[in-house]
Symmetry: none
Subunit: 461 residues, 2 copies
């Protein structure tokens, strides 16, 4: 009961300090830490420095640690008697284009009232600055009440999550001794639905690939060369149109090796969630699932692999018209992967498929972007049940074990390189518009997220 | 023989007056008549006025006639007994950027010696001021010898050819009575090869179309929606990949209706040109024709219709990677058309093909860009044989009837609006760099071009 009353104090402290916490988040969001664009490198570092200073002020032993790319922020508290915990988040954000679709400057965040309550609007509000700050604010309130930070904490904040996490694996390897804990916590996921908290227990992997097809050594006039000279856009289009069949299945040889069917137990759990694909799609102006035939909606997004074209460019696409046969065309494609699908084998199969479509007069070049295996957690660890109870208490609704269609490769890296399982607990909403214009994070997610972490810290302490 | 001796006098007069003719061309070239840039509107008009004054001095009934855009110059001689002829050229020029790639100011033309003989260097030297002046200089010499200009001539010089010829069709319609002649002559094309004169007797038409496929009402994260939501890039790619089959033939129903096979005569003529597709392609870093199977290289570029993707854009194609399912994807495509292919019917077939690939959750929008029928001249008109003989006599090599892969819409306009066939006779070279920095026109093209017109005028008189 002593613990419970201290917890209540921490929760009260969080409630009382909410407006200050929102102001701190706004300050953090003003730093345009776009990791994929080299023009923003200094801003990425500025965001790392800001985080380190915040954490050091709170009493963490905090440092910005360089990598060959953007730096890591690492902060620790002294070891305690209980379970040690590594909390991971990322302080970098996605690019903001198309800028004209934002209804306010993406790096001038504000609290806006909406019919669903107040939101914090700005790039990174949900992904992941707002989410990671829920944990930092829980620590701040904890310290105010307990006089000290929770023991045995390691905080790790990455600056390259949105640009492929190029340096994460080497960093984990080189600093394994410092980073290894009993369990990892990641706050970069959504609740199952508004008001229904969740712990994500499986994540799809990701394989990204850029394909560049080149033909003539210059742009050609289609009047002079059309009908005779190779058109790299057509070559690329022909290759990309045949990766999937009419049933939505990927045709690459061996693609489905290692893609498991659901266990009966998980199938029943997911069924109970009552997911309605048409309703889900209607939120973004769609209504018909277009994926593999014969699969439920949740299977499609959580337990089935995909192939998607994420970007394509070639020739003249501006105002008016230009009858050009371009010298090159390029596409960015990616696969979401599940179970034990082998990213290297699939990448090779994809490249072989494209090469088979490239005629003698064209060349093709491939660039790998991102490569992460899927992750499946061991939910028999009692920490999962304890966290589930804490979340259920905070939100007043039964917390769910769910899957995630996105890739959080770091969870797989923690398992493989540091031997830790991960609890993925996040407070994002499906309408947060992450990676899109007008990204937001609900003030409720932010406030109750911090309260949730306070409860989980208390439960695991 | 009387005619022949007067022709010889005209040719001698041209030879004797060459340096004066070059000086007049240089004066004309100094006027920066860039039609696409409103900043040069006064210069475009100055070029029109200069031409009118030259023609009036020569004895033409010449006028600058306003349009809603840049003006036309029209000049006439009294009707005669023989065939009436409309000569068309354009006095506007392309922009000059990138200026730093010019080795002299583009509007300070000069005669330069080169390993292939002297050239006149400057914007518009070949396209089209130098070419149109070959006809004007032939008229000047004719008048000096005969005491009068050739009868039954109409000269029409346009000032918007390089900016879309927006006002040409209305002008032709409104002034049809004044402009209609027995035959049109256009000097805006190349010789078949250096030293081999040619009359272009067929031109491909053009149909341009922009296709926009839209899915969700915003860009989506492929982790959250991949496998469930429609991807407009994939939809567009699937539609574009199936417009042509593996043999390079367009699959749209009715596409080849009106696309004629070569006559035996034209097939033999083209065969005699000795076109080497591999050599032609090697100039741009390619070597293998990729068009329809079973067609010669010249057929592919002159007598076969095409489907080309000129531009495509969708999703994220910048630096790095973004796992987005974009809200929309767009492509610009065009067909080169031959014979009597029906542009409207083909546009509808293309749109129907695309629509058939668009799933329930996507919409598609089409925008027409450009629509010109192919032109095929009736070479049984004895004027063609007469002009061929005249060109053969001047150049000492058999003149060829050739095709052109590009579109010169004015020739189709003359046919459709004024009921005239056109002889396209030009003296440009493949290395004239029209539309590019360091445009030039060979002094030989200029001198022998004028002599060629003198011979053709004599033959058609």
């Amino acid at each position: 009961m002593a613990t419970d009353s201290r917890l209540d104090e921490v929760l009260e402290r969080l409630d009382a300090g909410l407006s200050g916490a929102v102001e701190r988040l706004r300050t953090f969001l003003r730093i345009p830490s776009i990791s994929t664009d080299p023009a923003f490198a200094a801003d990425v570092r500025a965001a790392a420095n800001w985080l380190r200073d915040e954490l050091a002020d709170l009493g963490f032993d905090a440092a910005v640690m360089d990598t060959p790319g953007h730096p890591m922020v690492v902060a620790r508290t002294p070891a305690g008697e209980g379970r040690s915990l590594l909390f991971y988040g990322h302080y970098d954000v996605q690019p903001v284009d198309p800028l004209e679709l934002w209804n306010r400057p993406p790096f001038d965040p504000a609290v806006e009232d909406t019919p669903n309550g107040p939101v914090i609007r700005g790039r990174g509000a949900a992904d992941d600055k707002g989410q990671l700050m829920t944990f930092v604010e829980a620590c701040r309130a904890w310290k105010a009440v307990h006089g000290a930070l929770p023991p045995g904490l390691i905080l790790l904040f990455e600056g390259e999550e949105e640009s492929g996490s190029t340096n994460l694996q080497p960093f984990l390897r080189e600093n394994a001794g410092m980073l290894r804990a009993d369990l990892a916590l990641i706050c970069d996921t959504n609740m199952y639905s508004d008001g229904r908290p969740a712990i994500t227990t499986q994540l799809r992997g990701l394989l990204g690939e850029e394909i560049v097809v080149r033909a003539a050594d210059r742009d050609l006039h289609s009047g002079s060369f059309g009908g005779l000279a190779a058109n790299p856009i057509q070559v690329l289009v022909n290759a990309l149109a045949t990766v999937k069949d009419a049933e939505g299945r990927v045709t690459l040889p061996g693609f489905y090796d290692g893609a498991p069917e659901l266990t009966d137990e998980l199938r029943a759990d997911w069924q109970a969630l009552g997911f309605d694909p048409a309703e889900f799609l209607s939120r973004v102006g769609l209504h018909e699932p277009i994926g593999e035939k014969g699969r439920t909606g949740l299977e499609m997004v959580w337990n089935r692999p995909t192939f998607e074209i994420n970007g394509i460019a070639g020739g003249y696409a501006g105002e008016g018209f230009k009858t050009v046969l371009p010298a090159e065309a390029r596409a960015k494609v990616s696969c979401r992967l599940v179970g034990t699908q082998d990213t290297d084998a699939i990448r090779e199969a994809l490249r072989a498929h494209v090469r088979a479509h490239v005629p003698a007069d064209c060349t093709v070049e491939f660039h790998a972007h991102g490569n992460s295996q899927a992750s499946v957690m061991d939910t028999s660890d009692p920490a999962f049940a304890a966290a589930k109870a804490a979340l259920t208490a905070e939100w007043g609704r039964e917390a769910a074990f769910i899957g995630a269609g996105g890739s959080i490769p770091v969870a797989g890296d923690f398992k493989r390189l540091l031997g830790m399982d991960t609890m993925l607990i996040g407070f994002g909403r499906d309408d947060d518009r992450i990676h899109s214009p007008n990204e937001k994070y609900d003030v409720q997610s932010f406030a109750k997220g911090a309260r949730s972490w306070a409860r989980i810290l208390a439960a695991l302490a």
